[in-house]
């Protein structure tokens, strides 16, 4: 949780309205979601969401004061820090299937506005759709042997220099290279991706190669969900132009590049949202919790 202090760029980010420059070559290293910093995109036309953001900022400031992290933020009054949902989770990627990340709603204890709760969690959990991972089998491979002897394999070296192998359970596809490195795609959870990669490694091992299972790493996670209301993408791109790109003639979705966590969201008029670029599940959840109040502010009312 102390990582923020060691990373100067992030300290710049911490100040809410401050250093969110348009060109941010943000390369967020793997920040555990327990950092407690949400990106506050700069302005909001909707005063209600602006208010909610202010309340959330105040709560973050309280948490940061409580955990003695950041400096220079105008502190709120000495209110009890709210356990932000992302801070309750302490483990990292592995137990992917358990609902550890179900957003715990923030209890509305701040006396800022009597009427609205501080900020409610959306109650919507993005579902993971695809996980891409890599692993090193640690030995050179003869792709032609693998293609000839393994089942469900394709090898066309003129087109692509890898064997494309598929298994049915978990339903995944692997690209196996002659260097011994392998990419595993299509799994719906972290554990499934690891299991599938192990199955491919076992296939290669049974063909006689001294396969190992080195440096398994999840490279990308994709999630999707539905906010259940239509969205004014034009409005969103106007106010969040630092982060958004919307070219309806090119692609019907708005591409929102969130800085923290570093996630790209595809936002569609229908209210469907696709989130990608995550290394851990929590980043997807965190990004969605960040975007949800913004999207509520751009709900289509007709």
């Amino acid at each position: 949780m102390e990582q923020n202090n060691s990373l100067p760029p992030f300290q710049g980010l911490a100040s809410p309205q401050g250093a969110l420059t348009p060109v941010m070559p943000m390369f967020s290293p793997m920040m555990p979601y327990g950092s407690g910093l949400t990106p506050q995109p700069v302005t909001n036309t909707n005063s209600l969401s602006l208010l909610e953001e202010q309340q959330r900022q105040q709560q973050q400031q309280q948490q940061q004061q409580a955990s003695a992290q950041q400096s220079g933020m105008p502190g709120g009054s000495g209110q009890t820090p709210q356990l932000y949902h992302s801070q309750t989770v302490t483990t990292t990627t592995l137990p992917g299937n358990t609902p550890l990340y179900n957003t715990t709603p923030l209890t509305p204890m701040t006396p800022i506005t009597p009427a609205t709760p501080a900020s409610e969690s959306s109650g919507i959990v993005p579902q993971l759709q695809n996980i891409v991972s890599t692993v090193n089998l640690g030995c050179k491979l003869d792709l032609k042997t693998i293609a000839l002897r393994a089942r469900n394999a394709e090898y066309n070296p003129k087109r692509f220099a890898a064997v494309i192998m598929r298994i049915r359970e978990p339903r995944t596809t692997a690209l196996i290279f002659s260097s011994g490195k392998m990419v595993c795609t299509g799994a719906k959870s972290e554990e499934q991706s690891r299991l599938a990669a192990r199955k491919y490694a076992r296939v290669v091992q049974k063909l006689g190669f001294p396969a190992k299972f080195l440096d398994f790493k999840i490279q990308n996670m994709v999630g999707s969900c539905d906010v259940k209301f239509p969205i004014r993408l034009e409005g969103l791109v106007l106010t969040h132009q630092q982060f958004s790109s919307y070219e309806p003639e090119l692609f019907p979705g708005l591409i929102y590049r969130m800085i923290k966590p570093r996630i790209v969201l595809l936002i569609f008029v229908s209210g469907k949202v696709v989130l990608t670029g995550a290394k851990v599940r929590g980043e997807i959840y965190e990004a969605f919790e960040n975007i949800y109040p913004i999207l509520k502010g751009f709900r289509k009312t007709t």
């Binding site: 293609a147 393994a150 089942r151 469900n152 394999a153 394709e154 090898y155 066309n156």
Partner: protein
């Protein structure tokens, strides 16, 4: 050079067995006969066959290597306008149809 794909068919195997029985011909001649068979069967199938068969089944395994597809299907129905044939398991070996193929067993 035509595909040697059709040597492992009923027709091709019968030819090979017959050639093995003919002890008086030289192995080189037998090879030439088989090569001529390859050419003949390829042109015959390409030019003299007109009927169309549909088949549908579930895919068990597939393989693509050296530009040759090998499929194993289960519970396949071969349908021609006239009749229907059902099989539990069928292995399909398929080579590229364009005239770019080189000899592949």
């Amino acid at each position: 050079m035509a595909y040697q794909l059709y040597r492992n068919t009923t027709l091709g195997n019968s030819l090979q067995e017959s050639l093995d029985e003919l002890i008086q011909i030289t192995p080189q001649l037998a090879l030439q006969v088989l090569l001529q068979f390859d050419k003949a069967i390829n042109t015959a199938l390409a030019n003299r066959v007109r009927n169309r068969v549909n088949f549908k089944g579930s895919l068990n395994t597939y393989r693509f290597c050296d530009n040759v597809w090998t499929f194993v299907l289960n519970d396949v129905e071969f349908r021609e306008v006239t009749d229907l044939v059902k099989v539990d398991k069928v292995k399909i070996v398929a080579c590229d149809g364009k005239n770019t193929g080189n000899t592949a067993e």
